[in-house]
C-alpha cells in the first residue's frame, strides 16, 4: 500500500511552519516520518496536508550549558545517540535511543517526532519523565513550556494543541551522585518493548535520597511510579529495597494484555524491569564512587 494523496509544504523557517500548522485543514507535521509515513502507507493515517519540517535547520540544534542539554525537535535519533555531550552529560538519553527501532530507522527518526507521536511503548517519554525534562512548544501566537509530567495524555495523545509544534526539549545534565538506567524486555532487538523502566536516582553513598522511576509499554502512556519511588526513598539501595520497589510497581500500576503478552506476563515483566533498572543504576553509582 501507499499513502493516500495529500498536499505537501516544506517551509524553510519555523515561522512559516507555524503559519501552516494553524491553517484549519487536517494537517500533520512531518518530522522523520518513521511512524507517520508507515501509518500512511497502511492508511491508518490519511492527512490532507503534511508540513515537512526537514528543511528548518534551526530545529535540529543540540546545545549544551552547565545544567542542561537542549535538543532540537528535528535532531535525528542517530545523531543524538552519538553526540559526545549527550553521551557524557545525559547518558540515559543515549542509552535509551539504542532501543529505538534500528540504526536504519534512527537515521531519519527524530527526537521531537518520537515524543510528539507519543507511542505508549516508546522509551523516550519515560526517559523524559525520569530526567524531569521540559518540553518547548511554539505556536503562531507565542511559546510555552510543558513539564514532562504534563506532556503525555494517553496513547498517541499529548498536551500539544492543533496549532502548536514541539520545537525542542531541555534535558537536565546528570549531577554528582546521580545515576540512571533503562531496561526493557522485547522479543527481538528493535521490536516494541513488552515492558520497560527508566530510572534516575540521587545517591548519598549507598543511600538513595531521591529517585524518579518511570515505566512504559505497559499501559496508555509512560508514568512515574510514586509507590516505587517511596519504597526506595532514603533507603540503602540493596536487594531488599529494590524488591520493595518492584513489588510496589506491580501492585499499583495497571497493565494491559495484548497479542504479545497476557496481563500476568506483563505485570511480571514490569516488576522485573524496575528491579533490573534500579540494580543497574546502583551498580553504575558504585562504579563512579569507587
Amino acid at each position: 500500500m501507499r499513502p493516500a494523496p495529500f498536499d505537501l509544504v516544506a517551509p524553510s523557517t519555523l515561522d512559516d511552519a507555524l503559519a501552516a500548522v494553524g491553517d484549519g485543514v487536517d494537517t500533520r507535521p512531518l518530522a522523520g516520518g518513521q511512524s507517520l509515513i508507515a501509518m500512511m502507507n497502511l492508511r491508518l493515517a490519511v492527512p490532507e496536508k503534511l508540513i515537512d519540517l526537514g528543511r528548518i535547520t534551526e530545529l535540529s540544534s543540540i546545545d549544551v550549558n552547565d545544567t542542561h542539554i537542549h535538543i532540537g525537535a528535528m535532531a535525528t535519533q542517530a545523531r543524538v545517540e552519538r553526540h559526545p555531550d549527550v553521551v557524557a552529560r545525559t547518558p540515559l538519553v543515549a542509552e535509551a535511543l539504542g532501543h529505538v527501532g534500528h540504526w536504519q530507522i534512527r537515521t531519519r527518526g527524530t527526537i521531537g517526532g518520537n515524543l510528539a507521536h507519543a507511542d505508549p511503548a516508546s522509551e523516550l517519554p519515560a526517559v523524559m519523565l525520569a530526567l524531569d525534562a521540559v518540553y518547548h512548544v511554539r505556536s503562531g501566537s507565542g511559546s510555552r513550556t510543558i513539564l514532562a509530567s504534563d506532556f503525555n495524555l494517553g496513547p498517541y495523545s499529548t498536551a500539544l494543541t492543533e496549532d502548536e509544534l514541539l520545537v525542542g526539549i531541555d534535558v537536565p545534565c546528570l549531577g554528582v551522585g546521580e545515576t540512571t538506567a533503562i531496561v526493557e524486555v522485547s522479543r527481538v532487538a528493535g521490536a516494541y518493548a513488552l515492558a520497560g523502566a527508566a530510572v534516575w536516582c540521587r545517591m548519598n553513598d549507598d543511600t538513595c535520597v531521591a529517585s524518579r522511576i518511570a515505566v512504559f509499554a505497559t499501559g496508555s502512556r509512560a508514568v512515574r511510579v510514586s509507590a516505587a519511588e517511596g519504597a526506595v526513598r532514603n533507603a540503602r539501595l540493596d536487594g531488599r529495597a529494590i524488591k520493595a520497589a518492584s513489588s510496589a510497581t506491580t501492585s499499583t500500576i495497571p497493565v494491559h494484555a495484548d497479542i504479545h503478552a497476557t496481563e500476568a506476563q506483563r505485570q511480571h515483566l514490569l516488576g522485573v524491569v524496575v528491579a533490573r533498572a534500579l540494580g543497574v543504576a546502583k551498580a553504575r553509582a558504585s562504579l563512579v564512587a569507587s
Binding site: R2, F6, G33, Q34, M40, D52, G54, G101, Q104, I105
Partner: protein
C-alpha cells in the same frame, strides 16, 4: 506535482512526482533501479534500505520530496564497472545470501557503516544486521560475510 532533484549512484536526475510518492517507488518505477526491493512497506523488514547522504535509510519511509537535493546510493551503485565491492565479494564467498531478497538492503546498510566515521565493533555489526529480516540464511552466512568484510576474524564453520 513536485519537482525532485536527486543524485542517484552519481548521476543527477530530475523527477516530477506526486507528493505521496515514496523514494523506493521513484528508484524502482521511475529510474528502473529494481535492485532495491519492497518488502513490508512500513519500515520493519529492511529490504528497501538505501544510502541517503551517507546514512542507511528505509526508502519506503521517505517521501521522494524529502530526498530533494540528496545523494542516493543503491545496490546498483556498489560495484565498480562490474567489479564487486569487497563487501559484495564477501557475501558471495561466505554464503551471505540465498534467495537474495534482503541482500540489497543489507549491502546498503553495511556500505554506509563502512564509509561512516564510527569505530565498528562486532556487536555493532550485529545491531546493523538486526535491522534486516532474512528468511533463508539463518544469518550465519551474513554475519560471517560482514565479519570478513570488516576485517574481523572468523572461523569457516561459525554457525551462530
Amino acid at each position: 506535482m513536485t519537482s525532485v532533484q536527486l543524485t542517484v549512484n552519481g548521476a543527477a536526475v530530475e523527477l516530477f512526482v506526486e507528493p505521496r510518492t515514496l523514494l523506493v517507488d521513484v528508484l524502482r518505477d521511475h529510474l528502473g533501479l529494481t535492485g532495491t526491493h519492497v518488502g513490508c512497506a512500513y519500515g520493519v523488514c529492511g529490504a528497501c534500505t538505501v544510502v541517503v547522504d551517507g546514512l542507511p535509510v528505509r526508502s519506503c519511509l521517505m517521501l521522494a520530496a524529502q530526498a530533494d537535493g540528496a545523494q542516493v546510493k543503491t545496490v546498483e551503485g556498489l560495484a565498480d564497472a562490474g567489479d564487486m565491492s569487497a563487501l559484495q565479494e564477501a557475501f558471495h564467498n561466505e554464503h551471505g545470501l540465498q534467495c537474495g531478497f534482503c541482500t540489497p538492503g543489507l549491502l546498503c546498510s553495511l556500505t554506509a557503516l563502512q564509509e561512516g566515521d564510527d569505530d565498528v565493533s562486532e556487536t555493532h555489526l550485529d545491531d546493523v544486521i538486526a535491522g534486516h529480516l532474512c528468511r533463508c540464511t539463518g544469518y550465519a552466512g551474513i554475519r560471517r560475510a560482514s565479519r570478513v568484510a570488516f576485517g574481523f576474524p572468523t572461523s569457516p564453520r561459525e554457525t551462530s
